[in-house]
Amino acid sequence: MPYDVPGRADDLAPGLVKSWNDRIAAEFARLEPSFGSRFFSIDPVAVGSTARVPVTWFGDPAEPAFCLGAAAAQRLSDWDERGRAVLHNEYCEYAAVRAVDADGRRRLKRVQVTTELREYWVTLARSSPDAVRGLVTGITGTEPAWTDLYGVADPTALSEDARESAFAALVAGGQQGPPSGPLNTRNALFMSHPINGLDDLLFIIMFGARPLFTDRAGTLEPATKEQIFRESGSEHLACRHADPAAAMAAHGAAVSGRTVGFADPLGMYIQSFARDVFLLDGAPLPDGWVRFSRGDEGLHQRLEVGPPDDDPRFLDEAVTAEGATDEPVVGGHQIVRHVEVGPFVVVGPQTPLADGERTVLTTSDAPIVCREATVCQSIEQLQREFDAAHAGPLRRVGPRRTEPTG
């Protein structure tokens, strides 16, 4: 299972590459007892095909859209660190970089988009503080202080476990919450949402890679998305972009008796960006305003849209030409709506399915009403918090009546 580093973005010492592979192996070992089968292989070589197949979906958060509608989805997703921490769960996160213009106004300068896996960075941070500091320096252009990465002046004095814990708290975030430091909140260095992880990515492919069928008048047909997610009690996952796309791609392989695996290098990639949708002064964005990085061609994990620091212009001068009219660019949601993300997989040859391998589901295939998902309650709460945070001072609008000015 010798995977190269995600995107082949870094030239690492063999020991660090091994550490990354060890982390993948550990995550797989944890999931294998529940979700392992011959229809998924953690070893891409064993799959029997080298042709990379992209599995893609769009990067804009689905949940706020089906809970509250498109306008609220944009507004909440663009709510800086708070929006990112709650909503950016389609394996695509972004941060808006703002700067002050000549008139002293704080304006949108760039949007950074990342699909880099948190676990890769944590692996480096655990084993090699120098390596992780080099990555941050390469991305931000400024060498970070050790205290911003680990909370101490000398991380080499910490044990590996302590380094991982400190880095997770300050930079990586995770199950305990979003990062508390500014490095990966003011920037989008890599993904920090707790369900954009390597384990989630492995899980959703392994979850889908099962030959599940349904009986239609005596004929076995592949089970539907609704049946598959309902059978496991996880209907809410079926409403996102990422989970059904990944699971159903793997399921499509499994029902043909094919084995699926991650193509080398395992990672989450930016598969396409419709840059032509964005115009500056009626023309396409200058080349310097669209920068892919953190990976070889076709394996990029990072996208920055907007002018560099030495350019006096701002991204909010560009427009997005989505419909019949142009709208000014106000945040990252407008960018990731036009970004396709996803992993590459390899799919093995078709093989016969033994009778015992087929599982026939009897769960309902009725449509899943996404709006009724419980996640909508927390998103409605986020909307209330947003409203409260953006309510300005009250002004009198009539006898005994006020309204916020914000």
Partner: protein, 406 residues
């Protein structure tokens, strides 16, 4: 609430052989109530025709010829003075752009499809679109004339202005050979019947203002003319790689070999000659391919085979197009093409297909426009185009969408 008639998605349903799509423009300054009342009168005329009743021929019915009439509303309908409904958000981002003042211009920014150079005004942007389908040309044409009669009779004698005016109409016909004017098979891999409702019908969102649309659909229309002289200048192998199918049999192409395009093995099955014949059902949807040239063909760009089709991310649409042939002042004296008509739960599916680079973005039809002159050429030109919301049938409304007006 149920879908309006005229979307032939049920198992075994076949659309009638003839199409007319026409557009109604509201008089300048007319308010929503006035337009609604005029539309009510027209609706009564059309329901009569569906039963074979002509206003001027009481007691003398005519053959209805399986006539269906479907009503759609464009953005302008929602901006009439006094309109009771907000513009559906999806119409704002899912509309086509206007032509350039001197003609031409992209129909969607990022797309390789442009208006024809002589098109300076898009006739398909009025308040109301009406799709008429029947088994005979007479039945659909009769609706046009009866509509004119009713609007003419509704003219205010004092001002000479009618609340609604028929501004443009387009005719089309079905062809039984499953091919298009470029001689290749077309529409062969349209959705399976059990998938259609999930693609077509608008689903609940968290936006209460959009609830009235649940169960309805969006209609996308593009009148596409094809440059047959240019097409005939491309040799057969190159044509096949642009389309992604064998020209004669319709078999999907999977690779490019030393001797040219390689089609999927076993298609057409023994005893048949074309993919549309019984026994070839399994071959109608092209398989996933890894050959980079074939991957850029039209059929591969237009359908990434993502499951399930009901997920908006799959970008699957339900096509119900009709070919056309019309006299034309320039050589060769006629214009041939396709009335592209599709139904989907959001027009976002259509515009994303047209602008995303891994889909049909930047290409006019198929292929790689950066390296292949044939792919960069304007084979298809847009004569008119629009997106319209098609409200569901609400038993308490006198006609679909009546709530917009009163």
């Amino acid at each position: 609430m149920t879908l309006q008639e005229g979307v032939y998605h049920a198992p075994g349903a076949r659309p009638g052989r003839a199409l007319v799509l026409f557009f109604l423009q509201a008089a300048p300054g007319a308010d929503a109530a006035t337009v609604g009342a005029a539309l009510q009168r027209l609706w009564n005329v059309w329901r009569g025709l569906v039963r074979g009743a002509v206003v001027d021929l009481p007691g003398h019915p005519v053959p209805a010829d399986a006539l269906t009439v479907l009503l759609g509303y464009g953005q302008k309908a929602f901006t009439l003075p006094g309109a009771r409904r907000a513009v559906p958000a999806a119409l704002l981002t899912g509309s086509f752009r206007s032509p350039q003042p001197m003609g031409g211009g992209r129909v969607v920014v990022g797309s390789g499809l442009s208006y024809s150079p002589e098109v300076r005004q898009n006739p398909a942007t009025e308040e109301i679109a009406v799709q008429v389908v029947a088994e005979t040309q007479l039945a659909v044409n009769r609706v046009v004339v009866e509509t004119w009669k009713a609007t003419h009779d509704g003219t205010d004698p004092a001002t000479g202005v009618a609340p609604l005016t028929l501004t443009a109409f387009y005719q089309g016909f079905q062809r039984a050979d499953g091919r298009s004017w470029i001689d290749f098979h077309d529409g062969v891999s349209n959705l399976r019947s059990e998938e259609r409702a999930g693609v077509i019908t608008i689903k609940p969102t968290g936006d209460d203002e959009q609830d009235w649309l649940v169960g309805g659909t969006y209609l996308a229309f593009l009148r596409l003319s094809v440059d047959l002289a240019r097409w005939r200048g491309i040799d057969r192998a190159a044509q096949e790689l642009l389309v992604g199918r064998d020209k004669l049999t319709g078999a999907p192409i999977t690779a490019v070999g030393a001797d040219g395009p390689v089609t999927v093995a076993g298609c057409p099955v023994a005893g048949t000659t074309e993919v549309i014949e019984p026994g070839n059902e399994a071959f109608r949807e092209p398989p996933d391919v890894t050959d980079p040239v074939v991957d850029l063909s039209h059929v591969q760009r237009a359908n990434h085979h993502a499951r399930p089709a009901s997920d908006a991310s799959s970008l699957r649409i339900f096509r119900q197009g009709y070919e056309f042939l019309e006299p034309h002042g320039a050589a060769p004296g006629f214009r041939a093409g396709l009335n592209f008509v599709s139904f989907q739960d959001t027009p976002d599916r259509v515009v994303r297909i047209l602008r995303q680079p891994t889909w049909l973005g930047r290409t006019n039809f198929g292929g790689d426009p950066d390296v292949d002159p044939a792919a960069a050429a304007a084979l298809l030109s847009v004569q008119a185009g629009g997106t319209y919301v098609v409200p569901p049938v609400d038993p308490v409304e006198p006609f679909p969408g009546a709530g917009i007006f009163a």
